[in-house]
Symmetry: D2
Subunit: 133 residues, 4 copies
């Protein structure tokens, strides 16, 4: 997506690893949208009562990914404690949502795909955290 180009045009880029940063932003956006879509698809399923925890964690994960995606996008005057804690919160939300979506993956394709997106975003968050040290 085009926003990646804008990240590279910052006059004073942050010291964070560029590749890890850009993958984290993109995965946060994709995961936020995936969880919003999975929660909505679940609301229309005939076994809706089985999907209550899935919907709740989808909503949490969408909120965590949206906030973290915005915070990680900012490169001006960063505070690494804020960035690290936000990424950790995002990783926790992604992991919980992935585990719950996987319980429904056999019955619902949207849960199977959403679980994979959450797993990938969790890994990308961990990778970026590892570069921060």
């Amino acid at each position: 997506m085009t926003f990646q180009e804008i990240i590279t045009l910052h006059p004073h880029p942050s010291s964070l690893d560029r590749n890890a940063l850009q993958r984290c932003i993109e995965d946060c956006l994709d995961c936020a949208a995936s969880c919003t879509a999975c929660a909505d698809a679940s609301l229309s399923e005939s076994d809706l009562p089985m999907l209550v925890r899935c919907i709740r964690l989808n909503l949490d994960c969408a909120d965590a990914c949206t906030a973290t995606g915005r915070i990680v996008t900012r490169q001006t005057a960063p505070d690494l404690r804020v960035i690290s804690a936000s990424i950790e919160a995002c990783a926790a939300a992604c992991l919980a949502c992935a585990e719950e979506c996987e319980r429904h993956a056999a019955h619902h394709e949207h849960c199977r795909v959403c679980a994979a997106v959450c797993r990938r975003c969790k890994q990308t968050c961990d990778d970026l955290l590892a570069t921060i040290g």
Copy 2:
């Protein structure tokens, strides 16, 4: 991005035009991230006082695109008045932000690229509105 696949797996897809819908969601995400990145890059520019209006409209546009991207993603039990009004608000924010970013495009590449993303998102919103009637 993978979320597009989840949109197609909804058990009862909305009656909105699928292609127009998916482009709108993707452009809203890209525009929200682009405006967040452009506001942040502007904060680091040496001519920051010239960019105040740009930053303010970037922040508005990021908020409008984030909300509209979420609302348009939902296909369960849609209310077309809510969806149309949200897309119209998004288009208004994109237009205002594009016009302001264009005033700085000659001096700041991030404003030039962001203006193009905002123009495209404005057009995609208009296209989706046209299919709603």
Copy 3:
């Protein structure tokens, strides 16, 4: 809440009616939180399948109110087209959510209270729009 004091400390306040503005921001915050809470309470109700449309409109209304609350809070270099369109989108979301919550008000207290918050926020949005002209 304390944020109201910060609104009054802006070095160059916007020309919008101060009282109408502050009520709109506060009602948007209250309505966003109320709709988030009502959607969540509905997810735990035994007649959940009857509440699907209510949850969907709660989520839309929370997103619209969050974005509009942020946009209306900003007084620097305002664009009245952006502000008006955002308030109109918020009013539309509040109205749709109020109407749906009212259908469940007899059975669920949280829907009854949430409907009243949505009605009030709709009115406050209309009042602020009337001062913009």
Copy 4:
């Protein structure tokens, strides 16, 4: 605000301490709005270049508080790891923003008031975390 009443009407309230929970939600809302307003007021100050880091941390704190306020509001099928990590991220953002706002408190009343709101939200987050154990 009225949303507090809806929190109490949840059919299966979470096991979190009710008072600590409600104060956390309210302080997150107030802090998100305060930081949005402080960033905007700072954008209009004549010493704007001195306030760049303040604006950046205001924006981060608004995003963290908005996400955490939503996540903590949900009582259905909670995942305590997600909730704890989100509150910790919020507390980190509030602390960093408070420290930066305090550096400008002598010159800008909105920074002085915003710092106090951030300090209070940080404490309320810590208090809720302490009840989770």
